[in-house]
C-alpha cells in the first residue's frame, strides 16, 4: 500500500477540522468590527469617502505579499526537508494569494479612477504588484500542467523560490525604471501619514482578513489531502481490479 504520502497528515486533519470554524468565526467578527470602525472613522479631507476602499485594499496587498512569502517557505519545506505537508500548504495557498493580489489590484484600480483619473498607470508599486500577480498565475498554471502531485509540488517549489529571489530585483528595477521615465508625474500613494483613527480599523480588518486566509487555507489543505487520497485510492483500485 502506498500510504506513505497519506500517513503523516493524519494529525493535521483533526487539527484542521477544529481550527477552521474557529478562524472563520474570528474572521467574521474582526471584519465586522473593522468595517464598522472604518465607517465611523473620519473621511479623508483630500480623498473623501473613497479612502474607505483602503480597509480592503491595504490588507489585501499585505496578504498577497505575505502569502507568497509563506509559499516560498513551504517551497523550502518541500525541497529541503521533504515535509509531506509542505507542498499541500503551498498548493492550497496559491489560489488564495492570487485572489488577494487580484483584490488589491482591482480595489486599487477602482480607487485610482477617482484619484488619478485613470484605472491604471505604470507606477512602480502598481506594476510590481501586477508582476506578483503574474508569478501567482504562472504557479497556478504549473500546478495544473503536471498531474502527479509530488512532481508538481517540487517543480512549483523551484519556480516559487526563483520567483522569490527575483521579487526584490523586480521591485528595485521597477522603482528605478519608473523614476527614470516618469519623475513624480503620478500622485504618490504613500503620501498621507496615517492617522490613528484610520490606523486602528485598518489593523483590525487586516487581522480579520488574515483570519479569513487561515480558515480558507486550512479548508483548502484538507480538500487537497482528501483529493490526493481519492486519487491514490483510484490508482490502487485500478491496479487491483485485475
Amino acid at each position: 500500500m502506498a500510504f506513505y504520502e497519506l500517513a503523516n497528515p493524519h494529525r493535521f486533519m483533526t487539527l484542521a477540522r477544529c481550527l477552521t470554524p474557529a478562524c472563520a468565526v474570528a474572521a467574521v467578527v474582526l471584519l465586522a468590527v473593522g468595517f464598522v470602525l472604518g465607517f465611523r472613522a473620519p473621511a479623508d479631507y483630500q480623498q473623501g469617502e473613497t479612502v474607505r476602499i483602503m480597509y480592503i485594499h491595504v490588507p489585501a496587498a499585505w496578504l498577497g505579499l505575505g502569502i507568497y512569502t509563506l509559499m516560498a517557505i513551504s517551497a523550502l519545506g518541500t525541497l529541503v526537508w521533504r515535509h509531506p505537508l509542505a507542498d499541500v500548504a503551498a498548493k492550497a495557498a496559491a489560489p488564495i494569494g492570487a485572489g488577494f493580489t487580484l483584490i488589491c489590484l482591482l480595489t486599487g484600480a477602482l480607487w485610482g479612477r477617482p484619484m488619478w483619473g485613470a484605472y491604471w498607470v505604470w507606477d512602480a508599486r502598481l506594476t510590481s504588484m501586477l508582476v506578483l500577480f503574474l508569478l501567482y498565475l504562472g504557479i497556478l498554471a504549473l500546478w495544473r500542467a503536471i498531474e502527479e502531485p509530488g512532481q508538481a509540488g517540487r517543480a512549483v517549489a523551484i519556480l516559487t523560490l526563483v520567483g522569490f529571489i527575483n521579487v526584490p530585483i523586480v521591485k528595485f528595477s521597477v522603482d528605478w525604471w519608473n523614476t527614470l521615465h516618469q519623475p513624480a508625474s503620478v500622485f504618490r500613494i504613500d503620501g498621507p501619514t496615517i492617522h490613528p483613527a484610520i490606523l486602528a480599523p485598518l489593523l483590525v480588518t487586516t487581522l480579520g482578513f488574515a483570519a479569513l486566509f487561515v480558515a480558507l487555507h486550512l479548508a483548502a489543505m484538507r480538500n487537497e489531502i482528501l483529493r490526493r487520497r481519492v486519487r491514490t485510492l483510484r490508482l490502487l483500485a485500478a491496479a487491483e481490479a485485475r
Binding site: Y119, W120, W122, T127, L134, A141, A145, H181
Partner: protein, 223 residues
C-alpha cells in the same frame, strides 16, 4: 466524418489545456506580454496608447507562433500522424481541425482578454471594442497561415525559429489591416470597415489556403 473532426479538435484542445497549464493560459500569456512591453518602452501612457493596437497584434502573432511548430511534429514524433493519414477524412479537414484547436487555445483568449488589456495600455474606450472585433476576425488568419509553416517543419524536432521565419512575412497584410481597422475605429485617418472587411477576407482565404497547403506539405514531405 464530423465525428472524426470533432475528435481531432477535442483531442488537441484537451492536450493543450492539460499539459499547457489550463484553459486560462492564453489570457495569462497576454497579460504577461502586455506587462512586459511597457518595461521595454517606458511607462509613457500616451505612447503606449498610440502603439497599443500594435502591441496586442504582436501579442497575437507571438501566441500563434509559440508552440505552433509542434502542431504536426508532435504527432509525427509519436506516430499518430500515420493514423491521421489513414483516417477516412481528408487530411485538409484534419489540419483545419487542428488549426482551430490551436486558435481556441491561443487566439480566442486574446480576443476575450483584449478589451481588459487595452485598459492597461490606456486605449480609448471606443477602441476597446474595435480591437476585440479585429482580433476576432484576424487571429484565425495568423494561426492558419502558421499551419503551413508547421506542416513544412513536420519532421523537425526543434523548428521554432524556422517556422517563425517562414510565416512572419505572410502575416504582414493581416497585421497592417488589423491595426488599421482598430485605429480607424477611434476616428483615425482611415475608415473602420474597409480594413476590417479585408481582415475578414484574409481570414476566410486562409481557412482554405492554410489547411490545403499544410496537407499538401505533409503529404509531400513524408517520404
Amino acid at each position: 466524418m464530423i465525428a472524426a473532426l470533432r475528435a481531432v479538435f477535442v483531442r488537441d484542445l484537451m492536450i493543450a489545456f492539460r499539459v499547457g497549464g489550463g484553459a486560462g493560459i492564453g489570457v495569462v500569456f497576454f497579460l504577461a506580454l502586455v506587462t512586459v512591453i511597457p518595461f521595454a518602452i517606458g511607462p509613457d501612457l500616451p505612447l503606449l496608447a498610440r502603439i497599443g493596437p500594435a502591441v496586442l497584434w504582436i501579442g497575437a502573432l507571438l501566441a500563434s507562433l509559440l508552440g505552433l511548430d509542434r502542431i504536426f511534429s508532435a504527432d509525427h514524433d509519436d506516430g499518430s500522424l500515420d493514423v491521421l493519414l489513414l483516417a477516412p477524412v481528408p487530411l485538409e479537414l484534419i489540419a483545419a481541425a487542428k488549426g482551430a484547436a490551436h486558435w481556441v487555445a491561443t487566439g480566442l483568449p486574446l480576443v476575450i482578454a483584449a478589451p481588459l488589456l487595452g485598459l492597461l495600455l490606456g486605449l480609448e474606450p471606443r477602441m476597446l471594442g474595435a480591437i476585440a472585433l479585429t482580433l476576432l476576425l484576424g487571429t484565425p488568419a495568423l494561426t492558419f497561415f502558421g499551419l503551413v509553416g508547421a506542416a513544412l517543419a513536420v519532421a523537425l524536432p526543434r523548428g521554432g525559429l524556422l517556422v517563425a521565419v517562414l510565416i512572419l512575412p505572410l502575416t504582414i497584410p493581416v497585421l497592417i489591416f488589423g491595426v488599421a481597422a482598430t485605429v480607424g475605429a477611434a476616428g483615425g485617418p482611415v475608415p473602420f470597415d474597409m480594413p476590417l472587411r479585408l481582415v475578414g477576407a484574409l481570414s476566410l482565404a486562409t481557412f482554405v489556403i492554410g489547411p490545403v497547403a499544410a496537407a499538401a506539405a505533409i503529404r509531400q514531405i513524408r517520404d
